[in-house]
Symmetry: C2
Subunit: 343 residues, 2 copies
C-alpha cells in the first residue's frame, strides 16, 4: 500500500508538501497541489490513520457505548450520532455493553487504547466507582445520554422524565381511568424515579390516590415486565390501564395481553414510553410518549464537538429534552368492572 513518500516521489515534491495538501493547511501553490492530488489518485493513496493519530495526538474516532443495540432507542441513537459525526469527518466506534458492567469496563479500556477523541456514553446500571475512574483516565470529553450521572461534571442529554411520566398518566386519566398500573424501572435509577414522580403528580393532581399495589418493578426489561404485568392482572382489583415506562417493558405487557387473549383497549388500555417503529403497524396502534431520539443524538454530538473544539468550557451542562405524546388507539375508556378473562 502506497505511503506518503511514494506520493511525494511521484509528484516530485517533499513529503511535507504532500502532508500539507492532505491537511489542506498552509499555502501550497495550486500547481503543486494539483500534482500531489493527481499522484494520490494514481496510487490510490490512503493515509495511515494510526501513524496520523500517533503524531497528531488525535484519532478522529469517537466512542459510543450503549447497553443494547437491539433496542430501537439505541439503534436510532447510533444512527443519529453516526450521521452527524460522519458529516464532520469523525468515525464512530460503537460498543454494545449488553447491559453488563464488566463488558462496559472492558470496552472503556479498549477505547482508551484506541485513543478516541471523545465519548458518548449511555451508562448501563447503577453508577459505579470503577466506571467513574475509568472515565477519568480517558482524559477526554464525555457526554452522557439518557441517564445523567451526578457530580462528575460531564455534559448530559436527557429526557424530561418527570414530564413524560406526567403526560402519559394524564392521558390515561383523561380517558377516564382511575386505577392505572405502573410498570416501571428499578427506582434506584434516576430515570425510573423521575417517571414515577410524574405518574404520582398526575394522579394526585387529578384528585386520585396512589395505590402502591399498582406500582411494579419491571427492571426496564421484557421478562421481568411480563412478570410484573401478570401480578398486576392477578390483583383483586386489577388496573384498567397500564403505563409501561420503556419500550422493552411495553412489549412485555403486550405479550401478556396477547397470551391471555385480552383485548386492548377494550379490556385494558396501554401506553408506553419510547415510540416503536412498528407502533402503527399493530392493532391496536400503540400510544406512546416518544423521546426525540435523533435530536438527543445530535445534541450529544454537538456538545462533544464543542468541547473538542474548545468553544465550550467550564462545568458540564445537562440539556433536557421534551417528550412528545403520540396518541393512537391503545388507550380507551375503562372497561366496566373486571375483565371477563382474568383470574
Amino acid at each position: 500500500m502506497a505511503t506518503i513518500r511514494d506520493v511525494a516521489r511521484l509528484a516530485d515534491v517533499s513529503v511535507a508538501t504532500v502532508s500539507n495538501v492532505l491537511n489542506s493547511v498552509d499555502r501550497v501553490s495550486p500547481e503543486l497541489s494539483a500534482r500531489v492530488r493527481a499522484a494520490m489518485e494514481k496510487l490510490s493513496y490512503a493515509p495511515h490513520a494510526g501513524a496520523r493519530s500517533l503524531r497528531k495526538r488525535s484519532s478522529g474516532l469517537i466512542g459510543l457505548i450503549v447497553g443494547d443495540i437491539t433496542n430501537p432507542f439505541f439503534s436510532d441513537l447510533f444512527e443519529a450520532v453516526e450521521d452527524a459525526a460522519a458529516a464532520c469527518g469523525y468515525l464512530v466506534l460503537l460498543c454494545n455493553s449488553n447491559e453488563r458492567s464488566e463488558r462496559e469496563e472492558a470496552h472503556l479500556r479498549m477505547l482508551r487504547t484506541q485513543r478516541i477523541d471523545g465519548l458518548i456514553l449511555a451508562p448501563t446500571g447503577a453508577a459505579s466507582m470503577n466506571r467513574a475512574s475509568l472515565l477519568a483516565q480517558l482524559e477526554i470529553p464525555v457526554v452522557l445520554v439518557d441517564r445523567a450521572m451526578e457530580g462528575l461534571g460531564y455534559d448530559a442529554v436527557v429526557l424530561d422524565n418527570r414530564r413524560a411520566g406526567f403526560e402519559a398518566t394524564r392521558h390515561l386519566i383523561g380517558c377516564g381511568h382511575k386505577r392505572i398500573g405502573l410498570v416501571n424501572g428499578p427506582d434506584v435509577l434516576r430515570t425510573a424515579a423521575e417517571r414515577l414522580a410524574g405518574y404520582r403528580e398526575a394522579l394526585l393532581g387529578a384528585g386520585l390516590s396512589v395505590d402502591p399495589d399498582l406500582i411494579r418493578d419491571g427492571a426496564f426489561r421484557q421478562q421481568p415486565a411480563e412478570q410484573a404485568m401478570s401480578e398486576l392482572l392477578a390483583l383483586p382489583q386489577p388496573p384498567s390501564a397500564i403505563f409501561a415506562t420503556n419500550n422493552l417493558m411495553t412489549v412485555g405487557v403486550m405479550k401478556v395481553l396477547a397470551d391471555r387473549g385480552l383485548a386492548c383497549p377494550e379490556d385494558i388500555s396501554v401506553i408506553g414510553i419510547d415510540d416503536l417503529p412498528w407502533a402503527e403497524a399493530v392493532s391496536p396502534q400503540l400510544s406512546a410518549v416518544a423521546q426525540p431520539v435523533r435530536a438527543m443524538g445530535e445534541a450529544a454530538l454537538d456538545l462533544l464537538l464543542r468541547r473538542l473544539s474548545g468553544s465550550l468550557q467550564g462545568p458540564g451542562t445537562t440539556s433536557v429534552m421534551a417528550p412528545r405524546l403520540h396518541i393512537r388507539r391503545s388507550c380507551g375508556m375503562p372497561a366496566t368492572g373486571r375483565p371477563a378473562h382474568v383470574g
Copy 2:
C-alpha cells in the same frame, strides 16, 4: 498519559521487555514480568493502538458495514459479530450506509485509512464496479453476509432463500390458501429472485397456478410495501394470504391491515421472512420464517478469522444457512369469499 518508556523506567527494565510482556510472547522471567505488570497497573498504562498498528501492520479492528442498523436483522447481526469479535480481542467498527451507495463508498475509504484487518459486508443495493474496486484496494479478507456477490471470490454467509420462500408459501398452502400475494424485493437482487423461486416452486408443487398479478415489488422497504399491499387488496380477486419477504415489508403489510381495520388471520393471513423481537407481543402473534442471525454473524466472523490466521485459503466459500419456520397465529384458514371491509 503514560507510555511504554515510563513503564520500563518504573519497572527498571528495557522497553523491549515491556513490549514482550505486553504481547505475552517470548520467554520473560516471571520476576520481571511481575514487576512490569505492577508498573503498568500503577501508571494505569494503556498501549497506543495507533503506534502499535503502525509497527505491526495490523490494527485489531474489523469493519462491519450494514445498510440499516435500525433493522433488527442488522442490529442482531452486529451484536453477534461484536460478541464473537470481543472474545478474540477485536474491536468492531460499525458503519451504517443508510442504503446509500455513496455513503457505503465513503465508509469503505475511511475503513481503508483505518487499516482494518478484515471486513464483513452486507452489501446494499446492486453490485457496482466502483465498490468492487474499493474492496480490492482494501487488500484484506472480506466476508459477505446476507447477499452474495458473484465472481469476486469472497467468502459469504447467506440464507437458503429459495427454501425460505418455499416453506413460507407451503405453510400458507397447508392452511388452505390458494391465492397468495407476494410482497417481494426488487427481482434484480438475488435474494429476492430466490425467494420468489421458492414461492413459485411451492405453488406449482401443490398444483396451484402462479398469478403474476399477485406478485408485487415492495423494494424491501416499508413504504413501497404498503403501496404494494394496497394494490393487492384492490385487486378484483384479492389474495386470502400475504407473504412478505422481509421484516420491513411485513411491518408495511400489517400497517395497511391496521389502517383498514382488517383482522388477521380472520380476514387475511400474513407470514413474513425475518423474525421480529416483538412477533409474540402483538395480536395476532406473527408467524415468520426466521433467519438464524446470530449463527450467521458468528459464521461470518469465523470465516474472517480463519482467513486472517491463514488457516483458510483458496477461493471463497459460501455457507448457506437453513431458515426456521416459526408458526404462530397470523395464518389461518382462508376467509370464505372476499373480506367484507375491502374495496
